[in-house]
């Protein structure tokens, strides 16, 4: 194997730049006016992201945020780093090119449920299975926001929208199940009403080497207001959020009265702890190599009207895509001459 590439260029910045300077949230706020609707959940996610960045130990110049098209995908404009606002659905592929070209960068992908699961579903799938070194944030508002309110691939069946006046017939995709179906190495869920949880989730996702996938439940107050109200509102959380904590039995509810077990006849199910032996509870382990149990957890609460696991579902190590086959730097004209003259040649004169 050839050595990993150094990001070579005639004018590449030197790589030995000393310790990473400390930053604050303000350092990550760009000068561009934020143009989401007042009250949009995207604001709080942006804030959490900008709060999380100083903790990630990265330089501003080494961060690249890539978006496709959609309200969520406007994200890159608002982060004071390098950014690319691409075309609808293609952000994971664009980001793959960036990450391969320069593995020293921290590359984030931000997109909506339409961007990353409808037109861009395949790129997402392949970025995840390849384990490209990306942090992918899917803002799931279960609607097409920017195009003014059609149902999305995560909308619930029967949803009445501009394009489904009689109710949508499509069964929704569940982002985490799709990601685990692609054997994604880091899979997590958080939501726009809990800044601390977002900050911690973003930090961990970034720290993961390889493709990290985070579903962020997001409220679109204009076209799908209250989609997650039954879960994410402060008052509902105790009953409705199942926190996933590494190494701990999965429990939630008042006094941890409820929990999750793996029933070989059914799958992962929520139970009253009182009804089962306490040690029957599933112990959460992000690091299981087999994604089967993480997948089972992803099937809890297919709609946001039942207790919903929040946190890191899976975090396993696999080789990061592109490292093993990294090319060397371009060796220059002499090597080119050698290539041209390699193999069968003949000389005249």
């Amino acid at each position: 194997m050839t050595p990993p590439p150094t990001p070579v260029s005639v004018a590449a910045p030197g790589r030995d730049r000393g310790p990473v300077p400390g930053t604050t949230r303000a350092d990550w706020q760009s000068d561009q006016e934020v143009r989401w609707c007042p009250g949009c959940g995207d604001y709080s996610i942006l804030a959490a992201f900008q709060f999380a960045l100083p903790d990630m130990g990265v330089r501003r110049e080494d961060v690249v945020v890539v978006g496709g098209i959609g309200c969520a995908a406007r994200f890159p404009y608002y982060v004071d780093s390098y950014g690319l606002h691409g075309i609808h659905g293609r952000a994971p592929a664009i980001a793959t090119g960036i990450a391969l070209a320069n593995p020293d960068l921290s590359v984030f992908v931000v997109g909506g449920d339409g961007d990353l699961l409808s037109i861009g579903g395949n790129h997402l799938l392949h970025a995840l299975r390849r384990n490209v070194d990306l942090t992918i944030l899917l803002f799931n508002n279960r609607i097409y926001g920017l195009t003014k309110g059609q149902y999305s691939p995560t909308s619930e069946q029967g949803k009445v929208t501009k394009s489904s006046p009689r109710g949508s017939e499509d069964a929704p995709l569940h982002p985490l199940s799709v990601a685990l179906g692609a054997d994604a190495t880091f899979v997590a869920r958080t939501h726009d009403m809990d800044r601390a949880h977002m900050v911690e989730t973003f930090r961990r996702a970034h720290a993961h080497r390889g493709a990290a996938f985070v579903e962020v439940l997001q409220n679109c107050n204009v076209f799908n207001d209250g989609a997650y109200a039954e879960i994410t509102s402060k008052s509902a959380r105790e009953e409705m959020v199942i926190p996933l904590r590494q190494g701990e039995p999965i429990r939630f509810g008042p006094d941890g009265s409820r929990g999750v077990v793996l029933d070989p006849d059914v799958g992962a199910v929520v139970v009253d702890v009182a009804d089962v032996a306490e040690d029957a509870l599933l112990v959460h382990d992000e690091t299981r190599d087999d994604p089967g149990i993480a997948f089972a957890l992803s099937r809890l609460a297919p709609n946001p009207d039942a207790p919903t696991p929040m946190g890191v579902f899976r975090a396993v190590e696999r080789p990061v895509y592109g490292i093993a086959t990294s090319p060397g730097p371009p060796p220059g004209r002499d090597a080119l001459g050698a290539l041209l003259h390699s193999g069968s040649t003949w000389t005249v004169g």
Partner: protein, 630 residues
Amino acid sequence: MLDDTDVTVGGSGGKPSEEVTGVVIRLAGDSGDGMQLTGNQFTAVSALAGNALSTLPDFPAEIRAPAGTLPGVSAFQVHIAGHEVTTPGDAADVLVAMNPAALRAELPKVVPGGTVVLNTDAFGERDLRKAGYDVDPRDTGDLEGFEVVEVPMTSLTVTAVKELGVKSRDAERSKNFFALGLLCWMYHRDPEGVRSWIRDRFNGKDQVLAANLTAFEVGLNFGETTELIPVTRVVPPVVREPGTYRSISGNTALSWGLIAAGQLAELPLFLGSYPITPASDILHELSRHPGMGVRTFQAEDEIAACTAAIGAAFAGDLAVTTTSGPGLALKAEAIGLAVSLELPLVVVDIQRGGPSTGLPTKTEQADLLQAMFGRHGESPVPVVAASRPSDCFDAAVEAARIALAYRTPVILLSDGYLANSAEPWRLPAVESLPDLRVGFATEPNHTAPDGTPEFWPYLRDPDTLARPWAVPGTPGLEHRIGGIEKADGSGDISYDPANHQRMTELRAAKVAGIAGTVPPVEVQGDAEDPEVLVVGWGSTWGAITDAVERVRAGGRRVAHVHLRHLNPFPPNLGEVLADAPRVLVPEMNLGQLALLLRSTFLVDARPVNKVAGQPFTAAELVVELEKILD
């Protein structure tokens, strides 16, 4: 055709031989018969023998259609000569047909009086039926007027090879090496070259190696001993400029041109690609050169291939994406993004027969207008074309030059014929290759009203109108770009009408301005007072050149201009066209360059079209030229 037959000058194995200035050989057999391999190897030894040459591989779309049937026929044509040649030849002097289907499909391409070498072992009744022959063509008048040489290639091969303990099925597979041996004998090729190539190529597969070597020797010996071929032929070496030469196919030359561009620009080369005939070989070739700073990314589809390349360009690589027509269609939206982002990107289209899946293994030039206009909005893209296999190298370097210097996607057009055909190439001195280095931005380039230095990603170079290329990782130049219209200079999102008009015009002017760095077209043939000017582009170069020379030899005044740059056109093209009383535009499409010339220069450019999956022959163009000159 035999270009010219000279006196009998000597012998091979005691047989008399005659010198000919050139010969066209066509090998045809089943897809599984290894005709492409055999043809390429015969080409290679002919190149080493110093011949001029040009090849035309012609294979079916199936991996292996049913053995012995017409759709399964795979052919390879090579023109070897003692003078420069530009085409694989109008028709074959010699056809080697490994089975009846090959004979049936290919006989029409043999000159009257030509030699037809048949593998008689394959002429059983079932074989004949599969080829659609009711009666053995050897028993009908079909082969009248040809010199027929009947050789039981399969059985001769199997008998010899079986002695090595090889199973007869496997032994049979070596029969193409028998044919190669026989051809080498017929044309005085140095067998040692072939032997060492066989040893190399099948290194590690002992049985196969031994079988193939044996078959080759049997073929050679058969020539020596048989009475069937009374005369061998010598094709003298061509007189050539001094230099080191190699035989090269279009796709290899193009790959190496891209590798060269990486060295000349001192940038890593990033290829995003999705396999597709006839472009896949570029992916294969480039994937073999990590040591040259090349990374290949086999994407999940063409859109990902192109957008990943755009990402790599943003990050500072020399980014390339390769495909054929259907893939170019899929990349349209992404190329539009690159236009808007103003990032360097080389998009290679190896054109094939269309529309839709069309004729995937055949050649065509029908993607020119797609390259020009196949995107929404006003989305100008420079277009560059290669004209012969070795020229694919230079065309790739030129495409990269434009992409880098102007921060723009560039479409490089080649086609299935150029891709797979080969010719000798005089290697350029690496010192003579252009410097493609363009600096990355390292400093702010603008001052805010309050005096703070800023970086404006859309502040243009006044000469080229290119914007600065600031790559992630560069402190202080953090910025955001995207496909929404942006303000001239600052690059911020802008919906201002006047700004959109200005940016639209700037993007157009940038591409138009490339003409300033494009050399004027050179007129070949009768530059002064031609009776007709032939304008071509791409792989028609060989056939046009040959045809023009033939017609000029007949005393007519014909000029020929061949375009490397299709957008923008070279600066003097308008004048050259204005000076010609008639303009003829041969293309393997329904008149796409003709349309552009007509609209740009308001000249009555008359199209000559062939859309048959096959290149023009010079003979066909001679007919067209004579028609217009009548």
